[in-house]
Structures are given as C-alpha cells and as structure tokens.
Symmetry: none
Subunit: 306 residues, 2 copies
DNA sequence: TTTCCTTACGCCTATCGTAAGCATA
DNA sequence: TATGCTTACGATAGGCGTAAGGAAA
C-alpha cells in the first residue's frame, strides 16, 4: 500500500504542476520527491503525470487519484483533531441515564452547566429506573447515572450530589395544611397515596420506614409509580402522600406541601438524595470532566443549603 | 502525521484486543507492533488502549479512532483499485453496500444483469445496515447502497427499486393459515415475534405503525434482529410475525405466509420497499451505468406486478 | 509460575541530500 | 545555454527481530 507521504507528495505536485515548486512547499529537494512519485506510480501500476523537462500534466489516472488523495488526507487531519479533542475531554459522547424525577429536578441544571463548560461534547439521554441504570453502567451502555442510592454494586461508584427529603403533600385547604409542617403522627389514619412496590421500590421502602419509625401503619388506598400521578390523587382530594421536596416545582394546583417534623432522628431517616453513579474504571475524559462539574456543583448547593 | 501502517496496526489490535494475536495477523512480532501503537499514541497526544499484561481495552479516544481508521483504510483500498482500473483502461470498481435482506432478494439479480451489461467492472460487496450505508456513501467508501428508506441525508440520492410489503408468517396448520390472507385484527392476542429496536429499527417502527393503525397492541414475547431468526421462532410454534414478502423464498419449513388485508389505507402503510442510494456528486461512469441497470430493472418488475 | 506487554539493542532497509546526467526550448 | 526532471551515491534515521525486563493473575 502507498503511504500518506506519497499522497501528500502527489497532491503537492498535482497542485503546483512543478516538481521543484512542490518540493520547496514540502521542505525537501526535488530528487526524493521524484522518487516518491515514482514509487507511488509503481505501487498503483499507473502513470500519474505526463512529464518532460518542460511541463508536468496529470494523466486520467492522476485526475482520479487527486480528489481521492485529498479526501484521504482531509479525513486523516479531521480524525487526528477529533481524537485529540476526545482525548483532552473537549469532545466526545456521554450517555446519561436518569430517573424520571432526576430528569426534572437535576438534569436541566446539569446540562446547562455542562453545556457552558463542555461545548463540543454531545449527550445521549436515557430515562431508566435506578436498578436498570446500575445494570447499564456495569454493561458499559451508559456512562453516568442519576439515580437513587439502592444497593451498592461492585465496580460502580456512587456519590450524592443533590440533597433531598420527603415532604407531605395535602389537598389545598386541608386542616393540616397550615404552612408550619406536620408530624407523621398527624397523618395517621389519613388515606395514603402510595408508591407501587415494583416500579418505585426505593420510595416505597422509604415511606414504609418513616411510618414504622413513627409506629403508625399507613392506610394505603391508591398506588402509583410516578410522583405526578400521586400528586394528581392528592389534588383530587383522595388523600395525602409523601413526595421529594424537589417535586414542589412541578406540582399541579390544589396541592399544598408541608415539611415533616417533630420526631427525633427523623432527619437521618428522611433522606431521598439523588446520587450520581459511574463505572469505577471509567477513563473517558469527557465523562470525568462532567463528573467534576456535577460534584462541584453539588458542593456549592450543599454550602448554599447550610 | 501518523502513517497508514500505524492505522492498520491500530485496527488489528483494536479488533483482536491482544497484541500478540494482532501481530500474528500482521505477520510481525509483538515488540514493533507495540512500538507502532506507542508512536501513534504520542503522535495523537492520546491514549488509545487501556492495557495491562492481562487485558487490552479501547479508550474513548480509541473508540473514536477505530471507525475513522477503518474509513481511511477502506478509502485507500478503494482508491488504489480505482486508479488501477482507470489506468488499465478497464471501467472501474463499484463498491455496493447492502442490507442482509437485500443481499438475498435483490443482489443476485442485480449482479447477474450487471455482469451481462458491464463485463470488466468489478464489484466490491459490503453488508451493512442502512444507516451505516448512508454514512459510507457520505464518506465515499461505498458507491451504491441497497437499503431501507430511513431519514433523508443531504448529498445522498435514494430511489425505490423493489416494491415490498409485510406479510404474516404463521406456524403451519394454524387456524388462520387458510391461504386467503389475514387481517391485523385477527392477529390480536397472538404472541408476536418482534424486531429488536436497536438493530432492526426500521421494521420495528413499521410493525408498530401497522398495529397502531388497527388499534391493537402487540403482545411481544420474543425479539430478534434478523428475519430468519424470527421465522425460526414461528416454525417452532412460538407465535406469529410479520416479514417482508420477499422473505418467502428463503423460509424454513413449518411456516405459512398470509397476505395482510381488510383495512382501508393498509396498502399505503404497509410499504417495505428496498431503495438504491448513491452520492449525488457521483461521476463514476460505471456507477451511473449500474444505477441505470438497477432502476430500469425495477421499472420492469413494477410493470410485471401490475 | 505463566502470560503478555514493554524496553533494549544490533541489523538492515529506506529516505534524505548532494552531485552529476540528460532532455527540451 | 538554461531550465528542470532523473539517476547515482554516501550518510543517516527508523523499523524489524531477538533477547531480556517487568507487572498481573
């Protein structure tokens, strides 16, 4: 096979139509340039130039080769730049998995900040529940997951990046909707709109633990797997529910939120933080950079909260 | 700039993920191969492999380089062939991309007719999914693609040349296998052997649209990306599927086909035509000639159908 | 201890530059 | 005779293979 140097030599001669001028452009002397062209011609079994000591012209075969040689060289240059950029983290593709809630409360901010710091990186977004995200990280089909801290998994690192807690959601005008918070005890006996065990296991378990901590039994009347559906029940006056505080931003009208309070140790139990997860052997520079953006950001928000 | 030998070395290592095996494939020993990779990495300022004495893995930068390197090498090979042909006065070389199905139902006929009209032209055949073919046409590494009409792409022209439609495939002896056709409604409730969304997106979407048009929901129990695999499911009695009518020719025993009928507008929805695609700036006379052969041929078949 | 990627080193091939050759206007 | 591509030749650089080194399971 010919070499790229031969193609560069050929393009230079084809453009200058003068071996001496082409050699000067390539910072070399004529003789080796002539030899490179000869080698290329022998390699291709084709005469590329019609040449005498007075003129140099492209043959038909040369006319076919010229655009192709330019394409090859262009593609090589483009590839070189692209690989450099990916290697330095300036470009690349990051596949981000996220839960439905994370997609609403965390993803927009992350993408906004990432877009500013990492123009040139393209993001592929994939909504999935937490456990599926862990599987995907293990398989390598997503780079970063925004999820709930369920079971630890070898090979996957997780870090909290957005503090969150459950708050009570009550129908507007309910007697407990005072704006001063409610205790779990006060919720005893009220119909509870509950997370389904299969699709929202994390929240199901969290709510059950909270009720147990207050020694009361939930009176579950409705199930749903998504926060908006639960809030719709509440807005319709069917009962109360517990949702992440971050859900306030996208609540329907007719719902009022109250902080949970009153119990020793409640704050430790009532943690619904969002975590970011990634493969521990992840080396993609763009991914590492995005992780820095997310985690720095979380530090700032943490400080702002305190 | 890197050299083509370095790209070849890189592709070999990336495909084998083993320096020793790659070196054997390249007919050389490991040490110089390692050195070529190191030189390439230094040249690109990028680590391409994550390697220890126990495993070799591509980095993100390596994953970007791999298809690009293949493109460069493909383009070089194609260029080499092309220049030789033109130089020797022979017509030229046509690289044909085709999907698995096109390779069975369309390619033999095209090659037979082209062979008669265009002796001296050599064909390079490359099986690839439709979207990859479009990429290759844009890059110039294939001349003509036989593919499904997915999204339009600037610079690439496509024309239908083989009409096709989906038909139902049922286990032999099934009560619906009457030879008089079936309606989609009749398939409601039967287990559907479905195309996978990733590798056979076109058919997946087409089947979903058909079911939606009949206001029924598919009961999907098995997934596969290739028609023969789906037909194998059907032959085994696991359910029914929808396949291009042209697949009849290479169906296993135990499968019976029924036309889809009964619904207004079904014929417009149920189109699975094969298209031919080429670069709009294509000037290769041999390519233009082959296009004429393919499209004339399609006119004949169209007339024969009506 | 085995596997397998990397480093070290001698040999050889290939490319460079200088100098001479030769064809054309 | 001047221009400019080609051939000849010695020096150097770069790649290959063999052999030794070193890290991981």
């Amino acid at each position: 096979m010919f070499s790229l140097i031969q193609l560069e030599s050929f393009v230079a001669v084809a453009e200058e139509l003068h071996f001496g001028a082409a050699a000067a452009r390539l910072n070399m002397t004529q003789p080796p340039l002539s030899r490179q062209i000869q080698l290329l011609e022998r390699e291709l079994d084709a005469q590329l130039f019609e040449r005498s000591s007075r003129k140099v012209e492209l043959t038909a075969a040369g006319k076919v080769l010229l655009p192709a040689a330019r394409s090859v060289l262009d593609l090589c240059n483009k590839t070189s730049l692209e690989v450099r950029r990916v290697s330095s983290g300036d470009a690349g593709t990051i596949v981000i998995g996220y839960t439905a809630i994370a997609g609403q409360v965390a993803l927009p901010g992350i993408l906004r900040k990432a877009g500013a710091h990492m123009a040139g990186v393209s993001f592929v977004l994939r909504e999935a529940v937490s456990v599926d995200q862990l599987d995907s990280i293990t398989r390598g089909s997503i780079d970063i997951g925004l999820l709930r801290p369920i079971v630890a998994r070898p090979g996957v690192v997780t870090r909290p990046f957005l503090e969150d807690r459950l708050v009570a959601a009550l129908p507007e005008g309910h007697e407990l909707a005072t704006g001063n918070g409610v205790s779990l005890k006060q919720l005893d006996g009220l119909p509870l709109m509950m997370y389904s065990t299969a699709e929202a296991r994390y929240f199901y378990d969290l709510v059950m633990r909270l009720y147990e901590s207050a020694s009361i039994h939930p009176k579950v009347t409705q199930f749903a797997s998504q926060v908006p559906a639960l809030l719709a029940f509440v807005a319709a006056g069917l009962g109360v529910t517990l949702v992440p505080a971050s859900s306030k931003e996208f609540a329907p009208s007719g719902v009022q939120f109250e902080e949970l309070r009153g119990q020793a140790g409640l704050a430790d139990l009532n943690r619904a933080d969002l975590h970011v997860a990634w493969g521990e052997s992840s080396t993609n520079p763009a991914v590492l950079r995005l992780l820095r953006v997310i985690l720095e950001d979380s530090d700032q928000e943490t400080r702002a909260d305190t």
